[in-house]
Symmetry: C2
Subunit: 452 residues, 2 copies
């Protein structure tokens, strides 16, 4: 167990609570400015203030999904199974009501493909109508809905065909997007095709503690077992597979999915959100930072230029990069409960970097901190939102700040350990407790900016 | 396809819309008396008037279940998959509200084990809380809840271990019953361990058109494929397997499940419901009727005597039995849309037969007719309820009449073809339409008896 734990800790340090590895060069002395506070009035009318969850991480019992299967076989890369998650499939109306009551105006969530199409070609009216209910709840509570058509998870049958590596995946995704757009599009305010489709490259693309994970024996054994259980002898899903082929499939599927959604609802803004780190070069790491960016972000900047109405930025911390690859955080670093460096200044840097590289508006679609000390979350939000204000003051078209996450939830391979929620959840009873940080973000939203 | 269809039609004629094969000897000239009408006042105070559904048949997307797997493999014995069924998992509150508004006072439904324990040993708080919501909806609408802990369907993992044939099945069922009883028992008014556990014997136990189905090549191929897909090389579920071993397992599980529920809630009435036909001997078939009864009912009458507080009778039609086995219906018979003989007089006969053989109170827990002509359903209800009134008048302790079904639903191997619903459902939109027969049964319930 010791070796296993070491491996987990090493991975945790960098994996950052779920597809949120960060790296790169700090572009601006953001921390100093954010610490000065007083950014009231900096936020434009109509700015989105929100909180996010994702289907599989919150809903529970997503039984037909690839993730469910991987969580419940041996060996697995998952620390524990998602199970009932935080019962959001049942409690969505209560959760959205709470979000609205806090003062937030936007709810970001995802539709689970595995529920909508549990068997290839068989679409579930029940699941589609459920998501209509969720969208109607947003309307009822006066909350805008930002909907990811995919947030990592695919149906098990899809993974067992080869997932995004399968050339047929594009058409399958288009069919799904078309169904969802026709059934629900009129109630969606912002759509994204994918959540962090750049994650495979981000995790494995440059030398670092995670690069080896792309081909570790446990993962290979998990994939072999999954293919066996699924009966096809094949399996590719999320970050588990041939990551170059997965990325190519996601790029194709984004372009085609974008067009499918726009064909039904030409006026619906459609984009994607990417995982992006504040990549800071150290000890002459500039060339490696440039290499990382060319691998992990630039293909997606090009993609959003070709098919996209906005881009979502999802940032958690910074990553220090030397000439040899990812470096550990500094000795005096403060850590979050998921062993990431506590570094809320990262957000300002990644907004600036992204805005320089795309022509579409930028939304912060995820930003947050896993902690059991809610005061840390409040401090994190204060600094991060301060960074957004700095960007706005410099004329950058950032249009929303959506916190990860509304609720404590299933943080993928790390299970339920990391607590990112503005709202805590007791999984034994599924009772929700609103943290002070939730009220803090709600106050910012009501004031449309930091007031102190 | 022709041969396939013939086989299906032959099976349909006898399978009677789903586990409702009927056979036997008419005990009384019920039809004449029922036709005379005017049974007002015959029903005791507190008589249960209700309608039933079952989880898998109505809820939709019961993805972790054995039935779901069987429906979606090739070959299959199922005409079509259940898919979203009639979306009752989402719409339960609306459906229970409608039931109450009609004047009915009892809702019979089942808890899906595959939802509550989607992976062996992993119980879903989300699913348990969902069923709490359903039970609270019953309370809110002033309706009593009769809950089957199992209605045919088991988790896929359970079937892949060998289902009820596996000696470990009893303990697994006990653990499940204990969890459900602890979580929900205080809100349940009547519980049954099993729905029609005598069905395997009833279908295959005596010579007749169905006896051969127990071992047809398509079923064998389906079971082999299911075991392969599940990865264990084994599969036994519902009526598909070694029916003698399945029956033995169900008898053990009933006794142990009964004790598990009673251990938590000693005052909760617990029983089971059996499929029972009005078995009528023709051409000297008395010995064969006696043989059928000894095989298909008597073990269960003994079982309810040992562990049981009430018994549910589920009757749809009669079965004519000659010395050689089941005979086709008479030339002048009227048929329902599922090719059963229209014979509502059967209910009175089966209540009388059952009451003679058990000491516990009798509830009619299913009785109904599949038809696209709602006037036929009204006539059926009038005659059937008249038969109940006759029994009451003769001092038989029959305590409720629960119609099958509240909603059109998934009628197992026959798919969505047969329409048993007091309420019709358009599956494209999931819109409900209350049939006149629903109002007719509601009037009877409000008057606590037939008024004309």
């Amino acid at each position: 167990m010791k070796r296993q734990d070491d491996r987990h800790n090493a991975r945790r340090r960098s994996l950052l609570g779920l597809g949120t590895v960060l790296t790169g060069a700090a572009l601006l002395p953001a921390a100093a400015r954010a610490a000065a506070g007083s950014h009231a009035g900096a936020f434009p009318k109509g700015f989105l203030w929100g909180a996010a969850i994702a289907g599989h991480q919150a809903e529970g019992d997503n039984v037909a999904s690839d993730a469910w299967l991987l969580e419940n076989i041996k060996p697995t890369e998952f620390r524990e199974p998602s199970g009932a998650a935080v019962d959001h499939y049942r409690l969505y109306d209560q959760d959205i009501a709470t979000l609205a009551s806090l003062g937030l105006n936007t709810f970001r969530f995802s539709i689970e493909w595995a529920r909508v199409e549990p068997v290839e070609g068989m679409f579930s009216t029940a699941a589609l109508e459920h998501y209509r209910d969720v969208l109607l709840s947003c309307r009822k509570h006066g909350v805008k809905a930002m909907v990811s058509f995919n947030h990592f998870v695919t149906p098990a049958w899809f993974a067992a065909r080869g997932g995004w590596e399968d050339p047929g995946s594009t058409q399958l995704y288009v069919r799904y997007c078309d169904k969802v757009a026709r059934h629900l599009g009129e109630l969606i305010d912002y759509a994204t095709t994918f959540n962090e489709p750049n994650l495979p490259r981000l995790l494995f693309g440059i030398p670092g503690p995670l690069a080896g994970m792309a081909d570790n024996p446990n993962m290979r054994a998990m994939l072999a077992r999954a293919g066996q259980v699924a009966g096809t002898g094949k399996w590719s899903s999320w970050i588990f597979g041939d990551f170059a082929k997965i990325e190519a499939g996601l790029l194709r599927a984004h372009a085609a999915g974008y067009q499918a959604i726009k064909a039904v609802h030409p006026n619906l803004p459609v984009g994607f959100s990417i995982a992006i780190a504040d990549d800071q070069a150290v000890d002459g790491g500039e060339a490696m930072v440039a290499k990382k960016r060319a691998i992990a972000y630039e293909p997606w900047f090009r993609a959003i230029g070709e098919h996209g109405d906005f881009i979502g930025v999802q940032t958690y911390t910074r990553e220090l990069i030397g000439p040899d690859g990812v470096r550990p955080p500094p000795k005096d670093a403060k850590f979050t409960s998921s062993h990431m460096e506590y570094y809320p200044q990262a957000l300002e840097a990644t907004i600036r970097y992204t805005a320089k590289n795309v022509r579409v508006p930028v939304y912060v679609t995820e930003n947050g901190v896993s902690t059991d000390d809610d005061a840390m979350r409040i401090a994190y939000i204060r600094t991060a939102v301060g960074g957004v204000a700095n960007c706005l003051r410099d004329g950058i078209a950032v249009k929303g700040y959506i916190h990860w996450s509304l609720l404590d939830n299933f943080e993928w391979i790390f299970g339920f350990g990391p607590h990112f929620g503005l709202i805590a959840v007791d999984r034994a009873t599924m009772k929700r407790s609103v943290n002070p940080s939730a009220r803090f973000l709600g106050q910012i939203a009501r004031a449309n900016g930091l007031t102190a």
